[in-house]
Amino acid sequence: MTKTRHQSVGLTDDQVLEMYRYMLLARKVDERMWLLNRAGKIPFVISCQGQEAAQVGAALAFDKTKDYLCPYYRDFGAVMVFGQTAQDTLLSAFAKAEDPNSGGRQMPGHFGGKKYRIMSGSSPVTTQVPHAVGIALAGKMTGENQVVFTSFGEGSSNQGDFHEGANFAGVHKLPVIFFCENNKYAISVPLKKQLACKSVADRAIGYGFPGVSVDGNDPIEVYRVTKEAVDRARAGEGPTLIEAVTYRLVPHSSDDDDRVYRNRDEVDEAKKQDPLVIFATYLKEVGLLTDKAIDQLNREVQVIVDEATEYAEKAPYPAPESTMTHVYGS
């Protein structure tokens, strides 16, 4: 019997279905947040739409009981693989006390949670990259040798912290996967005004470790190259830089109007490559999904998102005076 494409990279049928489910959940939660924003219920949304395959495909290559994630603000797909729930995300969107990322202190997309092995992130881009390297360094010292997954946009790969962090990891051969989600824009600034190299992956050679570029709309391929990188890292062979080529299907955030800087044709064209659509097609082709099953899945996910929304909307805000707490440890 010939292997399917996912089997040949070591993914079981169950795993690819799980993959799809995570992608769908991330998408649906994201769509819900836009609705809530447009209805005036939440002040801000930042989106993963278009990048779910890259995020989920990569995250599934890690051992979430052991490895660490230092994500960036679009990584709804990745944090879900590491354990965050739709409810967590909605709690954060509503800035409620129970939000596991920050207790409502940070904007949505500022992930964190020790129990999920997700390092707390901030807004200034790329600061998480050296953190990932430090977590890997600590793992080397303690012998835990966890592999660390850190992600960032292609615009953010121009920050000094990317360079300094990658170089440090290269010198110390640390188990870090630098995952660049190249969605072609940094807010309004197109790729060609951000960098002049052919691929962000080209930067790896300057740090003495491998760089790979992969189609970020194909979660199986993303999984494959990430898994290889993770295996190498776990074997003590050091870091890898991966560029996942994607496209951001929606505006930068709820404060953005992307019509100013990109034409609709371009976006429409990209929508044809929507990873959810093409992955669904694949799963149908290999006989793992049917249209009916997809409908069913959509309904299930919708229920999860509805319940999460309801829960989060009703959940209490943090107390005003709690503003004064946790500046320092006791």
């Binding site: 409620k96 904007m107 940094a186 600034v189 404060d255 943090p318």
Partner: protein, 327 residues
């Protein structure tokens, strides 16, 4: 005279200076096609082209460092930092380079650079889109730090900054952008950097502030007037170097001083203002020098009740002013 918003005054200042002097150019993230995330550079790329309105890569140290190089050889760059919070990666270029270029070269080189950055909160911006970072720069000789509170001052000070032969950090309170409107003359004018401005004359208490909280003080002063309390309100406008004379004069006038800023209290600009008063007109004081500031926590949280708790507002200001008046 035209009545315009604070942000429009800023756009206009840039436009006029770019028309006036071909050496003036703007660079920053999303300042071109997008016209800035706050739209402060709206339309400029259409008029001046992408050579003079440059969408840079996402790298603040380069934005400032490149601008310093260009300024050193005679250009007059305006570098926009998208949010004041994101100025931190550029601190080394600002403090080690821009601020010290003239001094270290014994006046051979200088750095006519303006760095604009929107600061302050109350816009659901959470920890990293709400900070007041000015205090980090008000101890750096060689720099000038400006924070206008009205459209008139914004335009006049920005023009002065662009024409200045030294680096100027220009902090724009983002809640002022569309909320604060005012008269702005048609003619070309500048407002001198280094001079505080009495925004309201009064006799009972002196309030010293800048940015958005200045407006809270003015609103509160109106109310207090009804109670028969007369407040003297000084707008610092330039935060570094401070207008010592203006501060001493304003403090001496009433003998009761309240300093207000959104930035947290300990180590904020208000401390230096208080110290100047305590050094130069202590015996004219009839009350301890009070400060009303943001709480000493890392930054403003996102969650609405917490943001509200953090922010000053006209009521909190009114209360503090009244209390001082009754001291």
């Amino acid at each position: 005279m035209a009545n315009m918003s604070y942000i429009d005054a800023i756009t206009l200042a840039m436009q006029e200076e770019m028309r006036r002097d071909p050496r003036v150019f703007l660079l920053g993230e999303d300042v071109g096609v997008r016209g800035g995330v706050f739209r402060a550079s709206n339309g400029l790329i259409d008029e001046f082209g992408e050579e003079r309105v440059i969408d840079t890569p996402l790298a603040e140290s380069a934005i400032v460092g490149v601008a310093i190089g260009a300024a050193a050889v005679g250009m007059r760059p305006i570098a926009e930092i998208q949010f004041a919070d994101f100025i931190l990666p550029a601190v080394n270029q600002i403090v080690s380079e821009a601020a010290k270029l003239r001094y270290r070269s014994n006046n051979d080189w200088n750095c006519p650079l303006t760095i604009r950055a929107p600061f302050g909160g109350g816009v659901h911006g959470a920890l990293y889109h709400s900070q007041s970072v000015e205090a980090m720069f008000t101890n750096v000789p060689g720099l000038k730090v400006v924070a206008p509170s009205t459209p008139y001052d914004a335009k006049g000070l920005l023009k002065a900054a662009i024409r200045d032969e030294d680096p100027v950090l220009f902090f724009e309170h983002k809640r002022c952008y569309r909320l604060i409107k005012g008269e702005v003359p048609e003619e070309d004018y500048t407002v001198p950097i280094g001079k505080a401005d009495v925004k309201r004359e009064g006799t009972d208490i002196t309030v010293i502030s800048y940015g958005m909280t200045l407006h809270f003080a003015l609103q509160a002063a109106e109310k207090l007037a009804e109670e028969g309390i007369s407040a003297h309100v000084l707008d610092l406008r330039t935060l570094y170097p401070l207008d010592k004379e203006g501060i001493i004069e304003a403090a001496s006038k009433t003998g009761k001083v309240l300093i207000i800023h959104e930035d947290n209290k300990e180590g904020g600009v208000g401390g230096e203002v208080a110290a100047i008063i305590a050094e130069h007109c202590l015996f004219e004081l009839d009350a301890p020098i009070k400060r009303l500031c943001g709480p000493d926590v890392p930054a403003m949280p996102y969650s609405p009740p917490m943001e509200k708790f953090f922010m000053l507002n006209p009521e909190k200001v009114l209360e503090a002013m009244r209390e001082l008046a009754h001291f």
